[in-house]
Structure formats: C-alpha cells, structure tokens
Symmetry: C2
Subunit: 173 residues, 2 copies
DNA sequence: GCAGTTAGGTTCAGTTTCTGAACTTAGCGT
DNA sequence: ACGCTAAGTTCAGAAACTGAACCTAACTGC
C-alpha cells in the first residue's frame, strides 16, 4: 500500500501528475483542502468517502508533499496544503471551469471571485475588477445561481460554503 | 458497462468533470488525442493500455461528447476531439505544467509553444512572442531538454513527437 | 472469389482496488 | 477510572483492471 500507481507510459509530466492526483477521490480531497477542510471527519462527512480510502489517499498526499499532516491537540491532527499543493489551484480551477461550461446550464453552483472586491477572475488569475494577479488565498468561494440551501442536517463544510468563504481559511468542525 | 462513475457528493462542477475524465487512463487518452492520435491501435501502442479498457474509455468519451467517432475506409475508424474535448486543453495544460514544475528537475520533456513563432505561452494562453491569444490548434508540442531520442522500435506516436508537431494534426499510423 | 492480413474490437480468468460496516485505539474531560 | 470522541484499521463482498487469447469484418493479392 501507499505505492503510487504507475502509468508505465514513458513518464511525461501528465502521467506524473496523474500518479499523484489522478486516482479516484484524490482531487476532490484536494479541492476540499482548498475550501479549508483540515480534519479527517470533515472530509468523510462532506465527501461521503469510505474511511479506508480517505486514510490511504491522505497518506499518499502527505507522502508526495501535497498535504502536510500537523498534530493538533490529542488526536485532532489537521491536514493542510503545502506550497506544492497550493500550486494545484490553477489546474483545479480550469477543471472546475470546464464542468461549469458544459454541465451547469443554470449557471455554476459556486463562483470563485476575488475575495477583496468580488471581482471575477480571468483564466490567467487576474482580477477583472482591480487587475491584481491572484493566488489561491485571494479567492473566495461564493454561492452561485445553482447553489441550493443546505439542508438542516448538512455537514459543516456544506453549511460554511453556503456563504462566501475565503479559500484556505480553515473550516473547523 | 458504459455507466459513468458517480461521486454522489452533491454535484459540484469538479465532480462532474471527474465523472467524465477522472478515471484511470482517460486524460492520457485525451492528451494523445491532442497530439493527433486518432486510431485504436495507435492509442494501444503509445499508451500500452489494455485494449478492453481503451475500448470502454473511448465509448464513454464518445458518449459524453468529448470525442467523435468517424468512420474511415473499412474498419479504420478514427476518433477526433470535439469542441467540447478541445475545451479541455487549458485543464490539460495546467496539469502538465504542475508536473513540469515539480517532477522535471532537468526541464520538461516537452514544451508547448506557439507553432507559428516558437513563442512561449503564458498561463492565460497568450503567446509571449506575438501577443496573440492561442487556441489548442495553435500550439506545437516540441521536445524539451529532458526528451530522449526514440528507440528503434518506438511506436509512431513517439517517433512523430520526437520533432515539433502541431497539436491536433493527425498522426497516421 | 478465395486465402491471408489487418484493424478493431470482445472474452475470460486472475488480480487489484473499492466499498460500507464494524471494530480498535489513543487521548480528553470529569 | 469512566465514557466519549476523533482517527484510523479490518474485513468480506463487489467492482474494476490486466494481459493474453480469441473473434470478425473489411480489404489485399493473386
């Protein structure tokens, strides 16, 4: 276990990337980490991912330097994105944008805007309002037209994201 | 078969995207399609992917509108990217860029430059040489510093990519 | 027009991976 | 010490992947 899956295809950079983040669930975990999810139980509750899989994926992500595992009080360790993990934001954003383009007829359920001025951000990561070049921490996830109000028994993450939330701001369960 | 895997996680656009292109091999197939691979046998030879998997993934990609299956002479059908498929280029490019950044200490094995003037291209897709905003068809895949010369028994795709090759230009086996 | 070749699959048995539920373990508050 | 909680581990059944062998519909050469 904890071995990385191997596309023997003469290692191009895409195969390398997919060996790290290409397995089922992995990119969703990373996305949740951008939302600010840090704790095991919160990943489980939000993604409804089997605990065994989450455990294995988190280990792989830590091992490959995308996440860091930091001890908390007691067993409450938390997982946070490293710089290498944060560097995945452009890739995540373009994948999300493709889904928005083709699978969100009523508009996206979530916008990613410049947290400071609510400006839209172009593909290069430049805020159309203020012209600044943004990094992941400058974005806010904001409910879009297709967002649905969270049910009464929704998990913390869903409830937190029902209102604008700056990326990488910890969501505490 | 041909059912799409389901992340029941309240369908955000990333989950939707991953349901289409998130399975093992799928993005490598799409990348090869950008290189100009169109035929079943060429995908098999270049990716060394099991034929059963390739068959299933191609069906899924056609079904979801990323590829189109076009009849050729006899059984030589070819698969080509649709506009929806071509729209995946920015996502593919950012994923490749991440791999280049962290897993290519001696430089990438492949650059993606503006085919007309060999200019580098920024994250937004603007050529730094001529300033034009490029689409996938304007790029050329060019061997980088870490490229290795193809062996004598290399497949057509590897041999074709050993010299600059414009994206989406068909590679004929 | 028939035999051989080629391309694009399908089938199948063995292996790996995923899933969901139940169980374990370590620290914390009282 | 007692139970609670958070973070895993274990396990059996289901699904997906793998590699090799097989199949079949066009073409090709004769």
């Amino acid at each position: 276990m904890a071995t990385v899956r191997d596309y023997s295809v003469e290692h191009c950079s895409l195969a390398r990337t997919l060996e790290i983040v290409g397995e089922r669930w992995t990119l969703l975990i990373v996305r949740d980490a951008f939302y600010g999810v840090q704790r095991f139980a919160d990943f489980v509750a939000h993604l409804r991912i089997p605990r065994a899989i989450l455990s294995e994926r988190l280990s792989l992500l830590v091992e490959s330097g995308v996440l860091a595992k930091e001890p908390g009080p007691g067993r409450r360790e938390h997982y946070t994105l490293t710089d290498k993990g944060i560097a995945l934001w452009p890739a995540l954003r373009t994948l999300i944008a493709w889904g928005d383009q083709f699978y969100a007829p009523n508009g996206p359920r979530r916008y990613f805007l410049h947290a400071d001025d609510n400006g839209e951000v172009d593909q290069a990561g430049t805020c159309l309002e203020c012209g600044k070049l943004l990094s992941a921490r400058d974005y806010a996830a904001v409910p879009g037209p297709a967002a649905r109000p969270p049910g009464p028994d929704a998990d913390v993450v869903t409830r937190t994201l029902a209102r604008p939330h700056r990326l990488l701001d910890p969501i505490t369960g």
